[in-house]
């Protein structure tokens, strides 16, 4: 009986033990940071700003977010039939709501992160105000950058300034906000970013005050010219002032490289005086450059006789290359250099005068794989050859803002203001560096504008200036024949944006009944 009593005691004890250990269900999580444990200390906000920046940069590396939606929509690249050439509907201007329709959720993901930081950073006490300012500056810059892209691509877009904290109620779904309102927000955000960033550029792979000034210049040039053939002078002036402020704000780390055009482009952005802001790539630690993997030269499409001609090529690298558009041949060949010079890719060294007097930017930007000038492939960012891996990594840091680009943007503003001699001065800076004589052509607005567009094409190939430049100049139709063929006439009437804007994907629209389709679809 005593034993039985003992056992009953044990039973009671065990029941208490088992029932009493409910707190064991609160397990610690080690592999993830959860909402409960984050946003406590200043370091969290700093890390979040870094996270935003990293995601912005990887967004810019995506095929459809960089060259893919800019230069590749123009005559700079030749759309191919298949494979890793620019065959998408975006590049061909053949988008419909179901084929190649835009899905902006990646952009809105970034916007959420910015908006979340704005809310959560206020819950944290900072000892160092500069630390908070820097984190805020990154978020303001990113929000401005993304909305600027969204407006240029879609026109009116939902203007979301609050983070997503859970499933939104149906009645709180966002409709599109007018582009003017969104652009006003962009301008306000970029100004905040400029005011919050410290001066100088600590690292050109990261956003900085000069980068924010460059963004501001782009935004104001856009509002000055894109929507009307008559420029808004006040906006032009803001753009010019922003550009002029860049070298000072850079603390001397941004300057014009006067000689040897080729030497501007290094693997590391910080080795490049002209770079203001560039996307970081490194084949060893990642990321690798997705885009230039596709657009730069692959030897396997080079005829066997020509192999070995190009110092950058490695045997048999697999993918096809994307060709430079044929119109670029005309633009790059328009001028010969003053002095004949050595062609580094001429194996026989007996090439005719054509080779010897090509624009220095021509022979350093592309390779003529067939030897007849018809098939050119980009070699502007040659990366590094790694013999142990038996392949080349296209891991040059890619400039997003480069000082020459800013100068040419300023030239565009000056031209719109009628200051033609100042425009020619800038043209001559870049021409001289490319081995060409000073510009001696006509200086009427139209001729000079075309000349400036050509110069941007030569100077900034694969740096994503041409598509937006053509829109600002209202000259898409005359330069991009497939746009004409596939989307319709490029006129300056109100309808033109029906052709420039992308449709939103059916899947995006289905999920939000408040969205109206982009005009023209």
């Amino acid at each position: 009986m005593k034993k039985i009593l003992n056992i009953f005691k044990l039973l009671v004890l065990s029941t208490i033990l088992l029932v009493g250990c409910v707190d064991h269900l609160d397990v610690d999580t080690y592999n993830n940071i959860t909402g409960a444990s984050f946003w406590k200390v200043p370091g969290d906000a700093v890390a979040y700003a870094n996270g935003i920046q990293a995601r912005l940069m990887s967004t810019l590396d995506g095929n459809d977010n960089y060259v893919g939606i800019t230069d590749a929509r123009t005559d700079a690249f030749r759309p191919g039939g298949l494979g890793p050439r620019f065959t998408g509907h975006i590049q061909l201007h053949t988008q419909t709501t179901t084929l190649g329709g835009g899905n902006w959720s990646g952009y809105y993901n970034l916007l959420h992160h910015c908006n979340l930081l704005f809310v959560k950073i206020e819950e944290i006490e900072f000892d160092d105000a500069a630390e908070k300012d820097a984190a805020l500056a990154v978020a303001y810059f990113t929000r401005a950058f993304i909305y600027f892209d969204l407006v240029r691509i879609y026109g009116d877009v939902p203007l979301v300034l609050e983070p997503t904290l859970g499933k939104p109620e149906l009645e709180n779904y966002y409709a599109r906000t007018s582009k003017d309102e969104v652009l006003a927000q962009v301008k306000a955000d970029v100004d905040k970013a400029i005011s919050l960033f410290p001066s100088g550029i600590a690292d050109k792979n990261f956003i900085s005050k000069p980068a924010a000034l460059a963004l501001k210049a782009e935004v104001y040039m856009w509002t000055a010219r894109a929507y009307s053939t008559s420029a808004v002078v006040a906006d032009l002036d803001v753009a010019i002032a922003s550009i002029d402020a860049i070298p000072g704000a850079s603390g001397g780390s941004v300057s014009f490289v006067t000689s040897d055009w080729k030497s501007i482009f290094k693997r590391q952005a910080n080795d490049c005086p002209e770079y203001i802001w560039a996307n970081y790539f490194d084949y060893l630690v990642g990321p690798k450059n997705n885009l230039h993997d596709a657009i730069t030269l692959r030897i396997d499409n080079v005829p066997i006789e020509m192999q070995g001609t190009f110092p950058i090529a490695v045997t048999d690298e697999g993918l096809n290359r994307i060709e430079i558009g044929s119109n670029m041949n005309t633009i790059f060949r328009k001028y010969e250099t003053i002095e004949a010079h050595d062609n580094p890719f001429d194996k026989t060294d007996d090439a005719g005068p054509f080779y010897d007097k090509r624009d220095l930017r021509y022979i350093n930007s592309m390779v003529d794989t067939n030897g007849d000038g018809s098939t050119n492939v980009c070699i502007k960012f040659p990366g590094i050859l790694v013999t142990t891996d038996n392949r080349r990594y296209w891991d040059n840091d890619l400039p997003i803002y480069r000082w020459t680009g800013m100068l040419l943007l300023k030239a565009e503003a000056l031209l719109a203001k009628g200051q033609t001699s100042a425009v020619v001065d800038i043209l001559n800076m870049t021409r001289t560096r490319a081995g060409l004589a000073n510009y001696s052509g006509a200086t009427d607005f139209n001729t000079l504008e075309n000349e400036l567009l050509d110069e941007v094409a030569r100077e900034m190939l694969a740096e994503n200036q041409r598509w937006w430049g053509l829109i600002r100049a209202h000259k898409v139709g005359q330069n991009v024949p497939r746009f004409m063929a596939n989307r319709g006439d490029d006129s300056t009437d109100a309808n033109i944006w029906n052709f420039y804007y992308w449709p939103i994907a059916e899947s995006v629209k289905i999920k939000n009944d408040k969205l109206v389709q982009s005009p023209g679809y």
Binding site: L25, K40, D44, L82, T87, T387
Partner: protein
Amino acid sequence: MRNYKKDKFLFGRMFSGSLGIFLSMLCLVLFQTTGFAQTKTVNGTVTTDSGESLPGVSIVIKGTTQGTTTNMDGEFQIGVNENNVLVFSFIGFELQEVPVAGQTTINVVLQQDIESIEEVVVTGYSTQSKVTVTTSIVTVDAEPLQNIPAGGNAANALIGKVSGVSVIQSDGRSGSAPAIQIRGGTTPGFGGDSPLYIVDGFVQDDLGSIDMNDVEEFTILKDAASAAIYGAEAANGVIIVKTRRGKKGKFNVQFKYSKEFQNIDRHKQETLTFEEELYYARMSYLNYERSIGYQFVDGRAHWWSAVQKFSPEQPGYIENAASTVYWLDDVLQYGGGSLPDGYYQTTDPVTGRQLAYIATDWQDKTLTSGDADSYFLNLSGGTDKATYSISGSYLDVNGVGVFNDYLRYYLNGNAEFQLSDKVKSGISFNYGIEDENGGEGNSWYERSGRQASTVRYYNDDGTPAPNFKNSGKYNPEYYEDNLLRERINTDMKLRAFMEWEIIDGLKFKPSVQLRQESANYLSFIYENLIQGSKRSQSGWMTNELNTQFEALLTYDKTFNDFHNLSLLGGTSFRNGYAYVMSSSTFGASTDLIPTIISSLPAENSTTYTTYGKTAIQSWFGRLRYDYDKRYLFNASLRYDGHYKFTEDNKFGFFPGVSAGWNIDKEGFWSGMDMSSWFKKAKLTASYGEAGKSKNLSINDTNGAYSTNTYAGVGGIYQSTLQNTSLVWETTREMGTKLEMGFLEDNRLNASIEYYDKASVNRLYSEPLPSFTGFSGIRTNIGTFASKGLEIVIDAKIVNTDKLSWNASAFYNDFLSQKTTKLPENGTESNRISGYFVTNPDDPTGDPILVGGYAEGERWGAVYGYVNEGVIQNWDEADAYNATHYDEISASSANKRQIKKPGDYAWADLNGDGLVNSYDREFKGWATPDKRFGTTNRFHYKSGSFGDFMFSFTLEAMTGAISDDWHGMRMIAQAQGADRPGLTVRESWLEEGDNNFSMYAWANRHAAWNYERNSEPFMQSTDYLALRNIEFKYTLPKAWANKIGLADFSAFASATNVGYLTNYKGPDPSQTDAADKLRTVPPAPLIMNFGIDVKF
């Protein structure tokens, strides 16, 4: 910055608490056994009423733990006092008490216990007489399934055997678990709905490495009422597995050897001849080039039908080039004047020149046969004090296809001890080691049927050619030669239980399982022509520790002869710890050391560790009552807490209630005329709820932040939205069942069962509008309901002394599978994941949303295009082009390309002049809705020549459709590695041909003229499969005894024997991946030959 609680001792208080109880119990029990003095010895024998001697009978002196057992001849000897009473007991026999009272010889005849031979069913935590079961529980005796080759996974033996349980073997990798879904699961579509496994009382996610020969019985809890006792993880049913136990009685030895032969010849498709293939390839190459406006240029290195250079500058072939096609005159001129061995020649249809080429049948290289050896040994036996069973097995599979080897060591032992007449205890251990070499993620199988014959396999010197550099389509032999890979999995389980009968009918049973699983992986790529000298290396190790502590209190009592009451209460606590350590690097300077060593460049290496914890706490109880086994009642309740949910939602209640009426036990039944043949009738009804949280992560409730890096700087961003309001997903199921038995001995049994179940608060990633920045948030999305009918017939068709024929058959009908509730989202029927198509009722009106999930609609609709046949001539083409633009093309460059004679005409359903995704109509359903299975077993006892057994299983599914345009029958691509499919032979060439489009073989990318769901490429996947056949011969006992054996049998069996189907892909049972050979080898046909010897 953040303070994690320090776990001083890994297993925490819970472990020490329960262990403490267990040890204390053990001590108490040991003290109970005390000695008595004996004064004399009693002898005797124990026999049955038919006179057979009974070995292993337990003889205990009443009131003590002292006792003995009878020997092989039923004899015993025991020391006793005069006033002792001996208690004789043996399973299946009635207990008998005999006072010693002066006797020295006590011979006892034990009577068979009628009650105890009644079928007993495992119900979860306890057993129950089958007669009183009121829920949907199926017991499957494993022994007849043990000769069916299971491909290394015991669950495969259940394919086609059980009503309401779909088992699909989609993976021919040895040891891979099949997909199991009970009653259609709770997730729309197939997969991800595996049941909960309870192996020897403990929860497992899968069957693991258990050997089928060691399984004694499967019990499947199909409905929520029966599964509710397992609560939170039982929403998809429960499969309870019992491994072999020792039995009281003689010592048994069983040895079994079998040899399997596996092949996947079914997956080999008929192909064009080499000559034909090159003919069509060259023609399509030409067509392709033209279609995209390119000039025809020979010599493209990676185009397999392109003619390669064979010249003094490039003697032999170009290294790594895919194509082995050359001009014959080049080969003759530079190759020594004669065509080297292995070369074929044919005329080039493009130029008329002669081509020379080497051909390889790639299917032969990758769809290879396999074999396996299986050894199994079991020792078992027991006395009245202890029973034991020890099983060991060794399985060595050289599987089908490439990279598919599997080796398994399996050891399982258990022992139970009768510590006193009130206390039992048992321990068991189970250990499995698997050495796997499989699934290296290269699409060997997909490629095998599509790879062009002209793709080089061997270099001229006979070594494997690396092939297709950088395209990932390597030569498997070359890959294997250059890859070192080791993967070893271990799974160790240690268990102990104790059972103490506190008072008559009241039992207390604590138990514990400790389990450790590990996976260890190492790989090294040698310097080779594909990756160069990069020498990529990786290694990882996962170590998972799981503990389960459980305590049960049961009470069984019969009151006033008729009132049978059974009570159960219990609690269980499980926690788990998962550690992962992983490292990878590259850049070793030598092939000699395949492991990651410290001298490797640090900047190349990646190392990470992860550590995760889980915890689940449960309480449960059950009340079972019947009146004279006539009126039956059963109720259970489970209360589960799960670490994944937030504070307010951690716990869920899962009730189950059922009742039954054994009509045949009523007095009036025996008075009815039909009772002479209508022997049994039982009606039951049940309702239950069971939960599911498997597809939920703790990140879904708490939200998660991830890390990233850019330019060497680490960042953090929110990766998962938080949803603290998530609650348990619950399956609510109502069922009713009528069981009937007919004729003498219930020779014919039939049951019909109807269920109506709903998965409420389904956990799902609900799509969010894009402006939120997230594609979805995990929510309790709504309700998915299904109703079904299950009919089972079981018959002893022939039942003579010599011959028996037992047949069982089932028919399952998923009467309806509908979404019944979804969150408000502003669309009609709150449809999610839908897409627009033309409204068939108003083609020119607004398109309608279809697909995805919508309230009131069955899920899994398949929509496709309408193929109007091949355009025969330019008049037809012009007429078509005047009104149609085909917008669908993988390549936009060819979008809106005009149709030519030989192209398909596609219908423009909404008449808008465009053929696009709106021009789709309903074609059918993605998943089957009817299943049928039958197993027939013939047994002939010849007497003097031994026993002959033959059985077969047929299985059928109907109601689904699938496409085969991914398949090798259709696939073709002039560029890249795909070759023309057999349909090329039937393609349009001139007016009047009306089979397949002319460009079928050439325009996969170019015009995308055929690659879409439509009539010619979609077929019903209805099938009737001969799933298993088995022959078994058993030697007459007398013969076996002569050679010193107790029993000897030999068997031959086959599984996955063949299909009767109109489906043109290789395997119609693969409904969600039909005809798409992928990275894993398909399920093979297995033939198995073996012997089974008992000593």
